[in-house]
């Protein structure tokens, strides 16, 4: 039981470390507005609210035992 607890703590610490490194490195990644032509394109957007995507999510929600973890609004624009 103690071993399990220790492993869970280690896993949580590892996850925390990973997220911290990712977030920290995010600050180093600077894409300037004039470099965003491709990122601003609809093909590079997450959660594009298209009819086919909505229908597909609707279907999968009803055909699988899991849910969540889908896309949220976000992408590469932020051009102005």
């Amino acid at each position: 039981m103690k071993q399990l607890h220790a492993r869970a703590v280690l896993q949580a610490l590892g996850l925390l470390l990973g997220v911290t490194v990712l977030v920290g490195s995010a600050g180093c990644a600077t894409v300037r507005p004039e470099q965003r032509a491709i990122l601003a394109d609809p093909t590079m957007q997450f959660d594009e609210k298209s009819a086919d995507q909505a229908a597909l999510e609707h279907t999968l929600d009803n055909r699988e035992g899991s849910t969540g973890g889908g896309s949220v609004r976000g992408g590469g624009c932020g051009c102005n």
Binding site: G27, A29, D52, N62, E64, G65, S66, T67, G68, S71
Partner: protein
Amino acid sequence: MKVLGSRFLPIAYPEARPWGPPVRASRHRVRRSLSGLVAVCGLLFAGASAQAQVASLDLGSALFVEPSKRSGLTVVNPSATLAVKPNDWLTVQGAYEADIVSGASESVKGGPLSNVDVVSSATHFSDTRNAVTGGFTITRASTHLSGSYTYGTEHDYRSNAFAVSAGTDFLQKNTQIELSYGRGFDKVCTTAFAASDAPSSRLALDNSHGCFTDDKKRASRDISLNNFQVGWTQTWTPVFTTQLVLSAALQNGFLGNPYRAVVIASAGDQALENHPENRARGAIGLRGKYYLRNLQTAVSVGARLYRDTWDIFGQTYELDAERYMLPWLRVLVRARYYTQTKALFWSDDYTGGEPANGPRGQYWSGDRELSPLSSYLVGGRVLATREGRPGQRVLGLFLRFSGSIGFDLLKTNLRDFTLGGRSPDDTLALLWSIGLRGEF
């Protein structure tokens, strides 16, 4: 209740419901709802046209078909959304959607040891779900706040859902964070059993007559839904961006299908499906989009892990690619693989025997979404966009107009689920969708 699959239980999202069998669609209600939407849209657009900078209208429809010799299912899902921007910082939105469902489903679930003919128990049904949504989005320099309310109704289900979300970007707009929360207050119709009645004595509904009236043979049960989500979108290079999404959901109430009975004794005794009243669910999804300059194609790769307190562990892997075939024509292709383990209390047969068949404690289920399964999906979409030149409008009306057609094929492999020992034949699903969008 959920809209695709009367045989399945109501998981989760506020707009979702486990829907069920023998009720007849009341077309006048659909017409009434559509008329209401048109009126609301008309009012919104009339107000908007006077001073709005932009309004958009989305019309869509999807057709879901699950062929089967014995059961089968068809769902038509029309929808309309009107969004109006009365000024630079506010968007007001109204939407309507319906699920028009028809088909047949087995109302009794039993496994290979069950002494009932569950195959011939398939009954025809039809039902219509109507849902209207109103919402707004406030956008300021680098933040936005959205709120919405959705009301959904069926013969045997009512849903009220509120959702709020807020997002901001920082680090020179390279980082975006979005938080969202949804709250649902739903009601489902069941037979009139008391909470103190033994679950094994509870009966399944055979139709929705008398639901949400003072009929003594019907009862209304609450379902409480809480959904939380955090999304982090990060741009790393001019051609690479990622998104990490964490989701959690809490459900409480009647989480089974009120129409589904399960064989729980070798003599053929049946009882209403009995699921736990609480379920906590969590998922983490990570996606990356990369633009391949030499192929002029945007490629997306994603993975999602899911876990809940019913002991289901799910994994999803996705891949898609999209490119412009012409300046106004985009083509997207996608593939997806999904696999999940069974719920702790899942058994294909509850009539006896251990461990492959037999009792799983105090709960029993006939829901194949809770059985171990995997699925493959392949599909795609073609999207055409026409933009008006400066000072001109497409068709004399739209600043921008787009249309899309999508098709997906979903094949499910049920590793354990049978109907009286026979594998169901409705495991192939076809999904067509069409969408039109005009911006004014």
